[in-house]
């Protein structure tokens, strides 16, 4: 096909793509490249950026203990919240799967927190629930447990956000439900004839058949957890307090950029976040071939 006729065939496609193309270049490509450039500069958003080479990264890795603290907090949050969230999502999805009555009601009730979880209203609510004399400690007191100072004790503060994340298990639950429905029932019937125990059925049928969905949820929830911001920002009063125990990477980045106007350094932090997320996604994809089996390539 000649270039001319190719162009003639292509133009309606590009007309429809134009808003996205403009947005792609102005809101994704340009900012990503600009932030890469700024990562090597010192810039306060008033005076022109000054090229400093690798200094930002050198400082970050060698001297900036808050950078390491924010990495530690964020990883800890991912490790504590994502597996627990997925386990809850899977348990509830399995309970809802087998033609139970009122499934629509349960599904809606379990999903509701996911849709509200990102709101500031819920973040504010969470702060009060975990107050020293808040609901959580009152509930613990019923069992004779003296609850800690969740919000001011750095040993406990992160758990408030872990619980907030787990509370929002609704969307992986819905995705698991869709995945469970797709498992052929004859596999379970065959297992029943062989008198397989429920746990054997779970590990020999459900887990391998559901592996692609588990993997999908895992990658997605990890990325979400690395990016999470508002909850930590509100509950820590915007600073990562107490004692930087809620200094999520995103909160640190935000403060460097918009409280101290260290735009160059914040851009360097942004690129570190981008690389971490890309690396984890790549690892998840790469390891998936060892434990994810797609149905059409059985054998």
């Amino acid at each position: 096909m000649s270039i001319r006729s190719k162009l003639r065939r292509s133009w309606p496609g590009y007309v429809f793509l134009t808003p996205w193309l403009i947005g792609f270049f102005l809101l994704s490509i340009f900012p990503i490249l600009a932030s890469l450039y700024l990562a090597f500069t010192d810039y306060d958003a008033v005076n022109a950026p000054v090229w400093v080479g690798l200094e930002n990264f050198q400082y970050m890795f060698e001297f900036d203990y808050r950078f390491w603290q924010s990495l530690k907090v964020t990883f800890l949050f991912v490790v504590l919240s994502v597996p627990a969230k997925l386990i809850f999502a899977l348990i509830v999805a399995m309970l809802l799967d087998k033609g139970i009555r009122a499934v629509g009601w349960y599904r809606a009730l379990f999903y509701l927190p996911s849709i509200l979880g990102g709101s500031i209203a819920v973040a504010i609510l969470w702060r009060q629930l975990f107050n020293a004399d808040g609901v959580i400690n009152s509930a613990l007191a019923v069992f004779g447990i003296q609850g800690p100072y969740w919000l001011s004790d750095p040993n406990y503060s992160l758990y408030t956000l872990v619980v907030l994340a787990i509370w929002q298990f609704g969307s992986p639950m819905l995705i698991f439900l869709a995945g469970l429905r797709a498992i052929p029932q004859d596999l379970y019937e065959a297992a029943e004839i062989d008198a397989a125990t429920p746990s054997r059925k779970f590990f020999a049928i459900t887990v391998p058949m559901l592996a692609p969905v588990i993997f999908f949820n895992l990658v997605l929830q990890m990325i979400e957890a690395f990016k999470s911001f508002s909850g930590a920002f509100i509950i820590s009063g915007g600073t990562g307090a107490p004692l930087d125990s809620l200094l999520f990477f995103t909160v640190y980045l935000f403060n460097e950029a918009f409280s101290y106007f260290r735009m160059g350094y914040a851009s360097a932090l942004g690129w570190v976040l981008l690389i971490i997320i890309a690396a984890f996604t790549a690892i998840a994809f790469w390891t998936s071939k060892y434990w994810v089996h797609y149905e059409n390539e059985r054998g």
């Binding site: 793509l17 808003p19 996205w20 947005g23 900012p31 932030s35 500031i120 508002s230």
Partner: protein
């Protein structure tokens, strides 16, 4: 058939009937147990929200240290006084949120359906590459592009206006919605486009007269998610809006916390309840679309 064998047979049927009855009882008991567990679990899940509503009606000294959900004397005044508790009234904040949200929803639906139509139905050179790039933007954390975007909008003099929150939506900045719509468009039979093409319809006519009317569920789903996320958005307004007159509801709620002594918890909860009320209403009305949307796109 001898007498002995017939009694044996009767015995056997009795035993198997007994077994079947046992199994039915066990299944019933299992189902009951499941329901008990699920009801308890849903109560735990919903309890924080119920507690927030209850607290919004309680006097201050009843809020803490209490698990109960019934205020002794409902303080409806928390709502009226909370509405005017900040230097600017909540009428203002809700109006601001509504403006930003409505414009964002319109922008998202128009621009994302354009892009999705191109990707799902039209042939053009470089399509695979653009599609891959579009999917990659799904992964980019907003925090990375935020700084250069902020600096650009600062140069343009757009900071302290709603433009940085709204204009990107008209440029299909939420690739998630493009993906959602592509998934939907692909399910529509190709023959429709082909027949229309033979009848001399242009791609624009096909988009407008065939694809859009058939995709109302997808458009509704995108509009609902777009509504919810924009309504709840905190980071964007936090960065771009500095004047309290321009604040959206989430920024206003945060002011309750930053006041030196939060003495009026009831008012804070009352406004929190009002802030999520539109979302809950949308959820109740459009639950079907929301749940199908997640199953279809597998996200959020």
């Amino acid at each position: 058939m001898t007498d002995a064998t017939s009694t044996r047979l009767a015995d056997l049927t009795a035993v198997s009937a007994q077994l079947r009855a046992d199994r039915a009882v066990r299944a019933k008991r299992a189902a009951l147990l499941k329901h008990v567990f699920l009801i308890a679990a849903s109560f735990v899940m919903i309890y924080p929200l119920l507690w927030m509503v209850a607290s919004s009606l309680k006097p201050n000294d009843e809020i803490f240290g209490q698990l109960g959900l019934t205020p002794s004397d409902p303080q409806w005044s928390n709502y009226t006084s909370g509405w005017n508790a900040l230097p600017v009234s909540f009428t203002n904040f809700f109006w601001n949120s509504a403006v930003v949200t409505v414009l964002s929803v319109i922008g998202n639906v128009i621009s994302c359906s354009f892009a999705a139509y191109a990707f799902a139905r039209l042939e053009f050179s470089g399509k695979t590459i653009w599609f891959a790039l579009m999917m990659m933007t799904l992964m980019i954390p907003y925090h990375v592009v935020l700084i250069p975007q902020y600096l650009t909008f600062l140069q343009l003099g757009w900071v302290n206006t709603y433009l940085p929150l709204v204009v990107p939506r008209f440029l299909a900045s939420d690739a998630f919605f493009i993906f959602l719509m592509i998934q939907f468009f692909r399910q529509l039979p190709r023959e429709l486009d082909e027949a229309a093409m033979i009848d001399g319809c242009s791609p624009f006519k096909i988009y407008w007269a065939i694809i859009l009317p058939l995709s109302l569920p997808a458009m509704t789903t995108a509009a609902i998610f777009s509504f919810i996320w924009t309504w709840e958005d905190f980071l964007g307004p936090l960065v771009y809006l500095n004047d309290i007159k321009d604040y959206t509801v989430p920024l206003a709620l945060r002011m309750f916390l930053s006041q030196d002594s939060v003495s009026e918890f009831g008012q804070m909860f009352a406004m929190s309840v009002l802030s999520i009320l539109p979302i809950i209403l949308f959820f109740v009305i459009f639950q079907r679309f929301i749940i199908r949307g997640i199953a279809m796109s597998g996200m959020k």
